[in-house]
């Protein structure tokens, strides 16, 4: 935090601090709430319209609500001890989950082209899968909402109204019929859940770009909180806004030697380099930080704007939030508006646009060995079990290597070998045994039984099992997803005619 506690702007600090934090969940809700209205527009008037304006629109709506609420709420919440790191953890967790879902949708979109035979069945199954994932995200969102909302930590009493408002918020988008007597939080889940189900139907409609765009914006916005000081809240006009061009941001070097033109990332490196161009650059004055010289006169504080139109960090945005340093701008721009070109070499799935992010990820990649069926990984077993205890329908996932290793008991090979060999051996008990005929009979029996263990190894036997289409998908379908959802959305069967999303998607397909 840059300002001392008694600094004049601090008077304004609290409410706006809240506001900013209040927005976090709303930003994240893009995945669930925010996108929904955009679909309606998508479906009916035009399919070319981008979803971004809608998002912003929605965003403001939400923000207004929050603002209104914030005015009402007494400023009793002391949020100084609020830890941004836990919030960041939560946010990045959500980001990760959304990524996974995104991949899944990608996969489905890819498959759509291949299998045209039984579209209904497939759609249903895909829907199930996506719904399951989305529910988990929403459930996670709600559970993390507690830590996302700083006020919750301090006064429990404020939690209820806030969730209530969330419920309202969700409810306002959906026609009634969600179940009136239910708890507010459940209501929120209901409405979200049903809408998300719609969304999952539509995902194939929207171009990949659209989805990705939405997600990427939201998640990187959230991540940027780390760069931007959350206490930052200067009155408009009290600072100078600088906007770098896209090329400038993406340029590898920002400091160039005036003499030879060589580029540097850091000014200090440039100054070291300049020493080679002559003695005049070797003086302490020339080597010192240039800012320090002009430190005496108060300069206007500099803040930065993102050049991307429509971005919240863009100065033309209605709720513009400036970026603090050039580094923030760079990271923000790369994370939010650029391709993710760095892939993790360990898992080959996670991609990053900032190399530092990749390095951070690689430090922890592969350490999460406790897996949930929903794809979430945990570094600790008890965390996984806490997660499973919390959500319905989530199952611990058994690591693949174990599954492979135990297709059958270990003595298979041995058994077949033994039985094969027995076939060739002639036991010489005929002489001692009293009833010769009986022994021959026995020998015959033995030969017959040889077939038994060997038949076990025939690969055909594995095929004979009827798995009811278990091979259709890389993982078994969420069989009880419906039942597990029943608590989330009692009206889950209604959603089709509520918005009429499914038939549309089928037709357009």
């Amino acid at each position: 935090m840059r300002f001392p506690a008694d600094c004049p702007p601090f008077a304004n600090f609290k409410p706006q601090l809240h506001q900013q934090k209040w927005e976090d969940p709303s930003i994240l809700d893009y995945g669930g709430i925010g996108i929904e209205p955009s679909f309606q527009e998508f479906n009916q008037p035009s399919e070319t319209q981008t979803s971004l304006p809608c998002n912003s629109n929605n965003d403001t709506k939400m923000a207004d609500r929050e603002d209104g609420r914030m005015c009402e709420t007494p400023q009793a919440n002391k949020s100084q001890d609020w830890d941004p790191r836990t919030m960041l953890n939560n946010l990045s967790f959500l980001e990760q989950k959304i990524h996974q879902l995104q991949d899944l949708v990608h996969l489905i979109v890819g498959r759509r082209g291949q299998v045209l035979g039984r579209p209904d069945e497939l759609v249903a199954q895909q829907q199930q899968l996506i719904t399951a994932d989305l529910t988990s995200i929403i459930a996670q969102l709600i559970s993390t909402a507690g830590s996302l909302l700083p006020s919750v930590k301090h006064t429990l009493s404020t939690t209820t109204p806030s969730i209530g408002q969330f419920g309202q918020l969700g409810g306002s988008f959906v026609p009634s019929g969600v179940g009136s007597g239910t708890d507010a939080s459940v209501k929120l889940q209901n409405s979200n859940g049903s809408k998300l189900a719609d969304q999952s139907n539509h995902t194939d409609l929207i171009s990949n770009y659209g989805t990705e765009q939405n997600y990427s914006i939201e998640e990187h916005e959230s991540k940027d909180e780390e760069d931007a000081d959350e206490g930052e809240n200067l009155p408009p006009g009290s600072y100078e806004i600088l906007q770098l061009e896209k090329e400038e941001i993406l340029a590898p070097h920002t400091h160039f030697c005036a003499i030879c033109g060589k580029g540097f990332k850091r000014d200090a490196n440039l100054r070291m380099h300049m020493r080679g161009h002559g003695d005049e650059y070797k003086t302490p004055a020339a080597l010192a930080k240039p800012n320090k010289e002009s430190g005496s006169e108060p300069t206007l504080i500099k803040r930065y704007s993102c050049p991307y139109a429509g971005c919240k960090r863009n100065k033309d945005h209605k709720k513009f939030q400036p970026l603090k340093t050039i580094l923030c701008v760079k990271n923000h721009y790369k994370r939010t508006h650029c391709d993710k070109s760095y892939t993790c070499s360990r898992c080959n799935t996670k991609k990053f646009s900032v190399i530092a992010d990749l390095k951070t990820h690689e430090k922890h990649c592969g350490k999460d060995k406790w897996l949930c069926f929903c794809g979430t990984t945990f570094s600790r077993k008890d965390k996984l079990f806490g997660h499973i205890a919390l959500f319905q329908g989530h199952t611990p996932a058994i690591p693949l290597d174990e599954t492979k290793g135990t297709q059958g008991p270990a003595d298979h090979g041995e058994g077949s070998e033994a039985s094969n060999r027995v076939g060739n051996i002639n036991f010489s008990f005929g002489s001692t045994a009293p009833g010769g005929g009986g022994v021959v009979q026995n020998l015959m029996d033995v030969k017959e039984s040889i077939n038994d263990p060997t038949s076990y190894f025939s690969p055909l036997n594995f095929e004979t099992c009827n798995f009811d289409g278990f091979h259709e998908f890389p993982r078994p379908p969420f069989e009880d997803s419906e039942s597990s959802f029943s608590f989330l959305m009692p009206g889950s069967c209604n959603y089709t005619h509520k918005t009429g999303g499914e038939p549309n998607s089928n037709n357009l397909d």
Binding site: I388, D411, E414, A418, R421, S449, C465, F470
Partner: protein, 644 residues
């Protein structure tokens, strides 16, 4: 039973005379008749063989199957399409293929399956069971030591599962149990005994997800107080076994806020770290809620006044097992003063029990049905007098090794306790007179007379005359018994299933015989084996060690298709090739104990083949020891015991 068999013959005779007469009996009526034939499988077999229609009806009627060989399963299932319970404990090797066949044949009619004892299957078979048999309610996977989490996860697809036994599934961890907890929400009974990979997390999740659990066996699990709160929140929990859970101590019990109101049976035996303090915190606690309905407690605590007082608060208590507990006179007397009468009491191996404390304990508990005073070595005639006087309704009395009880005392048992069904007087001074008196208990089904050296053929003949319901007879080391005694038993007790006549003198007529131990019956030879093989086709387990049986006898035994367990040590007349032939002929063998010398005498491939069939070999390397005189053996044993 005999009467029913005559009916069958009668009907089939009629059937021969007039084909249509039989049609007057509707299928339902015949089903009801068949219901009465359940006790004896041979009767049912005879029924189905009477005629074609009987055969068809019996095939329709049968619900339970206990096949002997897995290779016959497809045919058997074809014949009995309505089977809902399959017990595969007798099949030596159940593979995934067998399970797939079963699941495809039975589909949703299958309700229960018992796979305990077979560990050749994996997740593939279980998955096909779980997916195809939607109504599967019970599954027993005990002893599937190779079963891994992935297989258990496949089982979790069986959503309707209510009872699950996973005892000794050593490879299973919390992850597998977690899958079960999430998948099988309707579980009512689960046994995780001896699954050392399962800990707090798995058990805790189980308690959180499966709210209907009635019975929970957590014996010998490394659980601690972390999972206890969620277990005690299970609102229907009735039976909780925490035997040998060393991680649970007094503090974890006293820290529990909720008592489990529904709990009826609590087993905390061998929990070293629980004392009466922990138990009393469970029993007293706040208000009436805690354990108020518990009627069965098994503990391992020292019985002091404090414990007796804490248990007194349980108004419904009916049964206490205090096995191996250090008891005090005051404690036992306090139990004796409870107003509620106990039904079952076990003081087995409580060395401190005296005549005085036992009689003060039993004065008020006149309704006692089961009493176990095994190895209470201080009690004498006075105790037996008191027991038989006050507890006349006893059905079970176990008093192995009560060495100070004189032979006259056993006469009292027979005189006063007429309802006894189970008596264990192994290693006692009982003589023919006492045995004669005991045989007056006409309901007797289990009688153990091992190491009773004073018994002769005369006494044993009484058993044959009076105890027609006897199922189990143990005559281990009763050296005074010869063929005449045993044949009297065999002719008088048609239902005998288990007999141990090791170290003594075999006879024909026990068709139900399942276990036979003729260890050291040196006078038994091939001549005895041939009628045995012919008549006792239900024999499962036989010990032939040290007897005079040779190749011929062994091969004749091989014709018994049920034979599963064979112990052959020190058979003088046995040749390697004879043994090989017998082993190959016994298709159902699961366990063979052999002398280590045979390992080299027989081809390795033979053993490999037999092991592939599901047979386990145990090699013993015992030296042949000349048998001591029985009295001498007993003295030696007592010497050893005193030294300890």
């Amino acid at each position: 039973m005999k009467r029913q068999r005559t009916i069958v013959t009668f009907n089939s005779n009629m059937n021969n005379n007039n084909n249509h007469l039989f049609h007057f009996l509707s299928e339902e009526i015949i089903f009801i008749i068949l219901d009465f034939l359940n006790q004896n499988p041979i009767d049912k077999k005879a029924f189905s063989l009477a005629c074609k229609s009987f055969y068809a009806i019996e095939a329709k009627h049968r619900k339970k199957l206990k096949p002997l060989r897995s290779e016959h399963i497809p045919k058997v299932l074809n014949r009995y399409p309505h089977v809902s319970h399959i017990d595969l404990t007798l099949c030596p090797r159940i593979t995934d293929t067998s399970l797939t066949t079963i699941s495809n044949a039975c589909m949703s009619s299958l309700r229960s399956i018992d796979l305990s004892g077979s560990n050749c299957f994996s997740g593939t078979g279980l998955l096909s069971l779980a997916v195809n048999c939607k109504n599967l309610v019970e599954i027993n996977l005990s002893n599937a030591t190779e079963l891994r989490d992935s297989a258990v996860a496949a089982l979790a697809e069986a959503k309707n599962l209510e009872k699950l036994w996973l005892g000794r599934c050593k490879q299973i961890t919390d992850m597998g149990v977690g899958c079960i907890a999430v998948g099988c929400r309707k579980l009512r009974l689960i046994s995780l005994k001896w699954c050392p990979g399962v800990g707090d997390l798995g058990v805790g999740l189980l308690a959180v997800k499966c709210k209907d659990i009635r019975s929970l066996d957590l014996s010998y699990l490394p659980i601690t107080d972390k999972c206890l709160p969620s277990i005690f929140k299970l609102q229907y929990l009735e039976d909780l076994v925490l035997e040998g859970c060393f991680g649970i101590d007094d503090d974890s019990l006293s820290g529990l806020k909720h008592g489990c109101k529904s709990l009826k049976k609590l087993d905390i035996s061998s929990c070293q770290n629980i004392t009466h303090i922990g138990l009393s915190s469970l029993t007293s606690g706040s208000g009436s809620g805690r354990l108020s309905r518990a009627n069965h407690i098994v503990t391992w605590l020292s019985v002091t006044l404090a414990l007796a007082d804490s248990l007194k608060k349980l108004p419904m208590l009916q049964s206490i097992k205090l096995d191996d507990c250090p008891v005090t006179y005051a404690g036992l007397k306090a139990i004796g003063n409870w107003c509620a009468s106990l039904r079952e009491l076990s003081l087995s191996k409580c060395a401190e029990v005296t005549d005085e404390s036992l009689s003060s304990l039993l004065t008020k508990h006149k309704d006692l049905r089961k009493l176990d005073i095994t190895c209470c070595r201080k009690i004498t005639y006075a105790s037996i007098d008191h027991i038989t006087n006050s507890c006349t309704a006893l059905t079970s009395l176990r008093m192995e090794s009560c060495t100070l009880v004189p032979r006259e005392a056993f006469v009292l048992i027979g005189q006063r306790c007429q309802f006894l069904e189970e008596i264990d007087i192994t290693d006692n001074e009982v003589d023919d007179e006492g045995l004669k008196s005991i045989c007056r208990c006409s309901n007797l089904s289990s009688l153990k007379l091992g190491i009773c050296l004073n018994i002769t053929d005369e006494g044993v003949a009484n058993i044959g005359m009076c105890c027609s319901k006897l199922v189990e007879l143990d005559l281990y080391r009763c050296t005074g018994i010869s063929d005449s005694g045993i044949s009297a038993v065999a002719s008088g007790c048609p239902g005998l299933e288990m007999i141990n006549i090791a170290y003594s003198a075999i006879a024909v007529g026990c068709k139900q015989l399942a276990k036979l131990d003729i260890k050291k019956c040196s006078s038994i030879d091939d001549a005895g084996m041939i009628p045995l093989a012919h008549f006792s086709q239900n024999l499962r387990q036989i010990n032939l060690s040290y007897s005079s049986v040779s190749d011929v006898g062994l091969l004749s035994l091989a014709s018994i298709s049920c034979l599963q367990s064979l112990t052959i040590l020190h058979l003088k007349g046995l040749s390697p090739s004879g043994l090989a032939a017998a082993l190959l002929a016994c298709r159902g063998l699961t366990k063979v104990k052999l002398q280590a010398t045979f390992k080299t005498l027989l081809p390795q491939a033979l053993f490999e083949h037999l092991e592939a069939r599901g047979c386990v070999f145990q090699w013993r390397d015992k030296f042949f020891r000349a048998e001591l005189d029985p009295q001498c053996w007993k003295i030696q044993l007592e010497d050893i015991m005193q030294m300890q």
